[in-house]
Symmetry: C2
Subunit: 248 residues, 2 copies
């Protein structure tokens, strides 16, 4: 599952980390792939990006296999392929290469199994790294902030997903649109939710993730919110999301 | 002034729009350049990106001059060079071109004057579009969310600004780090503020921009917050920022 949106700060990393942890909690084996040079999902899961020997960069360049780069986290059942800033270089190097959008798909084809879910954290752009994720994934999950600017880019993102399905990856479907940082006290949040219900009624996931400071505090402790504060509203919402994803 | 940060959603567009409007309110002539293919500062200032005839794309490719692309907004004294999704193509086309980082600087050199401030809204990456902005600008302003992930990429961003100063643009200085979406009720916001005060004491701007829903509501109305709700805390904070920028 590729978690993508070119709009920045909508909660791609937060969704990958916490959905991943909630799925693992229910007994699934989960692999998170950090495809963002910012390496937020790497550090958010407690791994120091600067100490990682093998990263997504080596995976895309073919120097290392997926089994070599997958690193265990403190959460049982949750592994991560860490990234580093050097991944920025990969995007430029890929531009003039053969099958540049298919690198990640080929690397994942070597997965020997055992992972029930693979969640890919994408950078805030629709460049080659995100295209690699969409070409490799079975489905795309689109986190959306309950804000105006996040609505603006949505049509273009859904169009890009369709283009990838037609030209690169016929099995790619849209898992759904996930409303994140929903603040029930503001009319803006309700306006955005109602707009999505009106325009994309059948693509909206049931689960709404509330804005909850415990979610962002958890990241600064290198833990998913389900571990950092298991009974808070954020943790409960991500568990509900895991349930919704598992029962699709 | 290039407003840049590769971390997404920190408030680059919000800062460019509202600082621009607050400077114009004090009588300055301001030009906003939308260098982000998402064209949020274009639509945030009430201009429909799809109807713009000439955009940042034509400016970078040399097809049009800066005086031809600058478009007036509803705010007196505030003009904008609009962008469109097609700008994504410019980043790929520039990769193999001569002087690829200096395109914007050359285009701005033709400015016949009259603008006291030029604010450049950058996309959430450190790719060629942002490098063009840093190579053309006299100073860089770095908005930062009072959140953990925003802290993580800061050192790398400041290092990139130094590299640009050494190799591309010796006049580039750091205007400062602007804390945005500060929520005084959360310890996370205070932790981030104290961390910045400790690590970068002389680079932190005095003005703190609070999280204020009127700021994001304003964008959905295509207006700066100083016009949408002139007496709210967000509008006051951006006026204070304009004062701080003018008196530097
Ligand atoms: N539901 C939530 N409640 C509170 N804070 C949240 C929530 N979701 C995300 N955040 C915070 O908002 C910020 C942006 O989220 P995040 O970094 O996950 O977005 P992103 O889409 O991955 O950003 P980028 O585009 O830079 O990759 C982070 O600091 C995160 O901790
Ligand atoms: N001080 C604030 N108070 C309330 N909302 C804010 C504030 N600053 C920004 N926002 C909202 O947060 C969201 C992210 O801000 P914005 O789009 O300006 O960030 P950005 O850095 O330009 O994002 P991108 O990386 O996608 O270009 C927007 O919906 C905006 O309206
Ligand atoms: Mg992220
Ligand atoms: Mg922006």
């Amino acid at each position: 599952m590729a978690v993508a949106n070119q709009k920045g700060g909508v909660g791609k990393t937060t969704t990958v980390m916490n959905l991943g942890a909630a799925l693992a909690e229910r007994g699934a084996q989960v692999l998170v792939i950090d495809l963002d040079p910012q390496s937020n999902s790497t550090s958010g899961l407690g791994i120091d990006p600067s100490r990682a020997r093998l990263t997504t960069y080596q995976l895309l360049s073919g120097e290392a296999s997926i089994d070599e780069v997958a690193t265990p986290t403190a959460v049982p059942g949750l592994h991560v392929v860490p990234s580093q800033v050097a991944l920025v270089g990969a995007e430029i190097e890929l531009v003039n290469q053969e099958d540049r959008e298919g690198r990640l798909r080929r690397a994942l084809a070597a997965l020997t199994g055992g992972f029930g879910y693979v969640l890919i954290d994408c950078p805030p752009s629709l460049g080659l790294l995100t295209l690699n994720a969409l070409a490799a994934a079975d489905e795309a999950l689109v986190p959306l902030q309950a804000e105006y600017f996040a609505l603006e880019g949505l049509a273009h993102l859904l169009y890009t997903i369709q283009l990838v399905r037609m030209n690169l990856n016929p099995k790619l479907t849209l898992a759904g649109i996930l409303i994140n940082q929903f603040d029930a006290r503001t009319t803006l949040s309700w306006d955005v939710l109602n707009e999505i219900r009106r325009v994309y009624p059948d693509r909206l996931l049931q689960t709404l993730i509330p804005r909850n400071v415990r979610v962002s505090e958890a990241s600064s402790h290198g833990q998913p919110v389900t571990v950092y504060d298991p009974s808070c509203r954020g943790a409960q919402a991500f568990r509900q999301l895991a349930e919704e994803v598992m029962s699709r």
